[in-house]
Symmetry: C2
Subunit: 355 residues, 2 copies
């Protein structure tokens, strides 16, 4: 969304460092009552550490002393009602309910060269594939932007405790996906503002606050617009991924800790009812629901809203344009509240923008 | 699918011309009892005319004498139980149930410079947008590969007769989508083999035979693999589109007649349970069902099948790979039986193929 006038010139932006420590993380929840881990002004930059809650799937490859310290300091019983280890929250000065928090994601760099994919009991084909949980550890090669499987193992027992540390011995490590290379597209699975709810809100289902959207396009170069729900916005980041397919069919992505750089801009000049994504090429609108058919409809209705309220099209024109050029995609089917997103290419409006 | 040995060398291929005439089309149905419009051998090329059943939305721009003759010769009462005007069927020598009909789409050229999008009563947001049907006529510029709206009009009455000819007077033509340009991606909405069913089968719901898949990737450069259901395969093409978004949300694409060139190759060296699409970059598997959640599951199960049976992966490996790199997309939500397709990039297997 272009701004009518720059609100970034008012004050020199600052760069904040937000490392993940036992004092700057919260595990499994958003909470509007949580004390801020950082306070920023609109226009400020933040370099934050996002830690995967799956680091314990290969502790020798995906944990360092800082991460071990976080895992050791947060009791398993305190990781709920969701599963994601979140860094934050970040209090944004002057943010009020009804504002939009624009987050410009600038870079996402893997902290280690390894990540974990779990075929989980909440995965889409859990029954079809023998009711088994299985971990595949991937090695990440950022120079070629590809990942390949390092080894795999059947998960012992059931994966029910977020952050469980599993010391799979060398002898149990099986070869996997020989000769196959996977594109790397680092992104945040979960990021968003605190919902206006008293107490803990699970990080698992995505919603108007953003949260666990699991859209792999939320990476470097993308901008998200989150509808602010509470004073200060209370923005948190977590659930870092290096690769995910649309659908996230096994229940997880390649989960891997990321160092994330972003700029936060407070917007009071427009509103939008759901988390909106802008990439260099597309506008992307998200719909959510337990039923994929309803998620589809929600995304469609909000895209009509974007095209009519923000691009000036009549609703009739918006509807026709969507049918002939907007692509609907299944974001994920494994977060309880499923997701469909719809994207429309910005280039289609190039002539309109010249007016 | 690569072949073990070329079966194309056995006999010099022929090029057949299949123009659309009252004798070479059938409207609204597949029928295993229909007499062939053309007989070909494996390896032969066909240049066929696919005629849009929406030509009547702008008869001055989308019909010529040949098309008028077809419309005049097929009574409205004989256009059922589906809606699509199909050219064919093509009998393929030696094709038997259980074979795969490989159709290599080589070119798709618009017959006229205009196409029609209908916001139909079966569209996804019909109720949300005031229970109105509306036609938007688009002008196609093949030199820039873009289309733009020429004019629009509210459809008088209800769009219930396929091929209805509507002479919208100049004075009722409204401006639409000023300054907006839509990418052109010509493709066949409906193409497939005759189902093994006695009598007429509606062209509307897609299925194992292919049919109304409505995936805009079924264009020039793509190859489809259709599971043969009856002797001779009885392949037909229709429902030509120049632009469609994934979802086809208003109920139709930009519907426009196309001249289509393709090569037919009979494959007896592999099988696959659903219509499979290969593009230069991807393998794409389709799932169908009245419920989008079930369509999603069907696509996922068949992709496991493709990766395990045809790429040699274990099912565990296939499942992990899909979660981290396969993209699930909503093909369409307007054909009664909805569609989800999943694509996986072929480049991921480059190293495996070097073995």
């Amino acid at each position: 969304m272009e701004q009518e006038e720059s609100i970034l010139d008012a004050q020199a932006p600052e760069l904040h460092i937000l490392n993940a420590t036992p004092k700057t993380v919260h595990w499994g929840y958003f909470d509007a009552g949580l004390a801020p881990a950082l306070r920023v002004k609109s226009g400020d930059f933040v370099k934050a550490q996002a830690i995967t809650h799956h680091a314990g799937d290969a502790p020798d490859l995906m944990m360092d002393e800082s991460i071990k310290c976080i895992f050791a300091s947060i009791p398993e019983a305190d990781r709920n009602p969701g599963v994601h280890l979140m860094t934050g929250p970040i209090y944004v000065e002057d943010a009020k309910p009804g504002d939009i928090l624009e987050v410009r994601y600038l870079s996402m760099a893997p902290r280690f060269a390894y990540g974990s994919n779990l075929a989980a009991h909440w995965g889409h084909l859990y029954k079809e594939l023998g009711e088994k949980e299985r971990v595949t550890i991937y090695r990440i090669d950022m120079s070629s932007n590809q990942a390949e499987a390092a080894y795999a193992y059947d998960f012992p027992g059931k994966y029910e405790i977020p952050g469980k540390i599993t010391n799979c011995p060398e002898c149990d490590r099986q070869k996997a996906l020989k000769g196959v290379r996977v594109p790397v597209r680092p992104h945040l699975g979960t990021a968003g503002v605190a919902p206006d709810v008293k107490g803990r809100v699970s990080t698992v289902p995505p919603g108007a606050h953003g949260g666990n959207i699991d859209n792999w396009r939320i990476g470097a170069g993308a901008t998200m617009y989150y509808p602010v729900q509470v004073d200060g916005a209370l923005f948190s980041v977590g659930d870092p991924h290096v690769s995910q397919g649309d659908g996230e069919i096994s229940g997880t992505a390649i989960e891997a800790s990321l160092d994330v750089m972003f700029q936060i801009v407070l917007r009071k000049d427009f509103s939008f009812p759901s988390p909106l994504l802008e990439t260099p090429r597309n506008w992307i609108v998200h719909g959510f629901d337990e039923d994929l058919d309803v998620a589809m409809r929600n995304a469609a209705v909000d895209m009509v809203h974007l095209l009519s309220d923000h691009r000036g099209l009549s609703k009739d024109d918006a509807y026709s344009l969507m049918s002939v050029s907007a692509d609907f995609t299944v974001t994920q089917v494994v977060d309880g509240r499923q997701g469909v997103h719809v994207r429309i290419p910005k280039t289609m409006f190039a002539l309109q923008d010249e007016k």
